[in-house]
Symmetry: C2
Subunit: 193 residues, 2 copies
């Protein structure tokens, strides 16, 4: 791992556990095993580090999408794995880090387009998978854009917005119930041909 | 309207607008146009009034279900109207009353079974409508219990839990998009027969 990446990961861990306000550049440098002067060569302040954490999040999401679009398995298996992966990741961040909401708010402050970006990435990934399924005669979908929208809304309950306080996280088995039902519905028409 | 009902409505309006703590039994009596001694003959304290407000809420829901189950129109029209009515009602309570979360928490304290009760009512109503649709050959549904569960989860995003703080209410047009898609999917199979 290069120095920049080590610094980002040290910062994210500190931010999540202690919050941004209680984290110093010195602590991040120590955790990342670099001199504080080195840290400042990469990031000029905590806002800059926050923005880098956000970019890293987006890069991770992009890698997940790459796997979903060109990995092993059928389009419905990849769709299922992609959504489930996103869910697990969001749940982990939302429940295991004590300052997730603070971090999310800070990121939105330095990168206000962040939520729209994530959402557009997810939409594009799902739409691509639905179209691939149609081309491969696995799905029969009249209007993939519409079904993508409906599907995202139908699973939205499972992705509470991080800046709001979730009272309790919905169970994974219910998410699977929704995804499986959609996939089966989409497949049903295709099988009849 | 009888005295008891007038008192409940006066109490609910006060609770919603000023909160429970800032509402006195005297104020409720004045608003309801009854003597405070009369008020105490019906309700022994604010907790008792809170519980009555909750019961009134349930009674209202039951009337909505009665309309959904035996009103005019086809089962899918009644399903759509029922869900939309619930949504509008929840949105109104959640956004227009400043103390909705406080009131919801107070109700859950005096009536902890309240959420489960509401949920069971909604499940029963939707299941009944799906079965009616199947009997009338309007819907083709393999397992109505499962589809009822999936449908409820798919619209759950539109019913944020009142005790949590919603950052912004999702748009009604998106809810309709989900409902319509489900209804069309259910109808599709039936039409092919």
């Amino acid at each position: 791992m290069d120095k920049r990446q080590s610094i980002i990961e040290a910062a994210r861990a500190r931010f999540r556990y202690y919050g941004i306000a209680k984290t110093t550049m010195q602590e991040v440098a120590t955790d990342a095993n670099v001199a504080v002067g080195t840290l400042y060569r990469y990031f000029k302040d905590k806002d800059d580090l926050c923005a880098a954490c956000a970019d890293d999040f987006v890069a991770r999401h992009q890698r997940e999408i790459d796997v979903a679009r060109s990995g092993e398995g059928s389009p419905d298996q990849r769709l299922r794995a992609y959504i489930l992966g996103r869910y697990r990741h969001c749940k982990e961040v939302g429940t295991e880090s004590r300052h997730a909401a603070e971090l999310a708010r800070a990121v939105l402050k330095v990168k206000p387009q962040r939520l729209a970006e994530e959402s557009a990435m997810m939409q594009g990934a799902i739409l691509g998978l639905l179209r691939e399924g149609v081309e491969k005669k696995l799905f029969q979908i009249q209007d993939p854009e519409r079904d993508m929208g409906v599907f995202l809304l139908s699973v939205a309950y499972f992705f509470p917005i991080a800046t709001a306080k979730p009272p309790e996280w919905p169970k994974e088995e219910f998410l699977l119930m929704v995804i499986d039902w959609f996939v089966e519905t989409w497949k049903r028409g295709a099988k009849k041909r």
